[in-house]
């Protein structure tokens, strides 16, 4: 964290510019929504813009662009955990819950008439 006055004054300009950029990106997100793209394109565009905005908030406002390694370490673990959570929906399409699976020996018993 830079604490001397000159560095803070320089940062203030950056904060204002980033704030303005975030507002412009919000306008673009809403504007792009008016074009009624197909769902895959709309999802991709909206999430790309949201990720760009989120990166700006994290790196500039939250000072992640110049943090200590302990913070990065904690965040790398968090990102790994977050990615695992995001893959959970994939497993819901692979499970067999609710589907009929015959018990072992069940099919043979049915054929023999018992």
């Amino acid at each position: 964290m830079h604490s001397d006055s000159a560095a803070v004054k320089k940062s203030i300009r950056t904060y204002m510019m980033v704030g303005l950029a975030l507002l412009v990106f919000t306008g673009i997100t809403v504007g792009a929504n008016q074009f009624h793209f197909g769902v895959p394109v709309a999802v991709t565009v909206a999430l790309i813009i949201a990720t760009m905005k989120g990166s700006m908030v994290a790196s500039i406002f939250m000072h992640l662009s110049h943090e200590k390694k302990w913070i990065y370490g904690a965040l790398i673990l968090t990102v790994l955990g977050f990615l695992i959570l995001m893959t959970v929906p994939i497993f819901t399409t692979l499970d067999t819950i609710g589907q009929h699976v015959p018990a072992i020996g069940g099919a043979a018993a049915e054929h023999s008439g018992h």
């Binding site: 704030g19 929504n33 200590k68």
Partner: protein
């Protein structure tokens, strides 16, 4: 007894205890919202049809602008403290508090409109996840407002006693506040636009 490493950095981590603490808290918050985002994906991909255009995009966009502006005022509240400008710090912190309040008032009108139309959380899968995500986010906004109110009131005394520690506390509050803004940056497109 003084709490150690509130101003000076710990030699092993190179961080104050408060800063490491707030980042670990934010890491747990990422997992909390991550679990709900994951739930949203499961519900949305599993639904035969998903309502589109049921939410007020204008109100959602206005709330996005409000939260982004509040993030700028929050970081300015910290920067002006570093420049030892107490009056401007107060002004920026009050502005952040007011903007947070306006966000919640907008959300109240949005919720009221849904309830008037019978669109309660039990109405559909969409309203269930919508109220869960935005409700949890709203509670975070309220929590941030309580902290800001403390630093505008009794917590402000610390500035006279230990200005560096006070500036650090405002920085931690700011980190939390920017995280709340960051969550909304993702909530707005997935709930209002897609």
């Amino acid at each position: 007894m003084n709490i150690p490493y509130t101003v000076e950095e710990r030699p092993d981590t190179g961080l104050t205890n408060g800063k490491l603490g707030i980042w670990l808290f934010l890491a747990s918050e990422v997992m909390l919202f991550g679990a709900l985002f994951s739930t949203y994906i499961i519900l949305r991909t599993g639904a035969p049809e998903w309502p589109h255009g049921e939410l007020n995009v204008v109100l959602g966009a206005v709330n996005t602008v409000i939260l982004i502006t509040s993030s700028v005022t929050m970081v300015m509240a910290w920067a002006t403290l570093k420049l030892k400008d107490w009056a401007k710090h107060r002004l920026y912190l009050i502005a952040t508090f007011v903007l947070a309040g306006v966000f919640l008032v907008n959300k109240y009108f949005e919720y009221k409109d849904h309830f008037d139309k019978g669109e309660t959380p039990a109405h559909s899968t969409f309203t269930a996840i919508y109220f869960t995500l935005t409700g949890l986010h709203g509670i975070h906004i309220l929590g941030g407002m309580v902290v800001m109110l403390y630093f505008l009131g009794p917590g402000a005394k610390l500035w006279q006693k230990n200005p560096d520690q006070f500036a650090n506390r405002i920085e931690y509050t700011g980190l939390y506040w920017h995280f709340v803004d960051l969550v909304w940056i993702f909530l707005f497109p997935i709930l209002y636009l897609l």
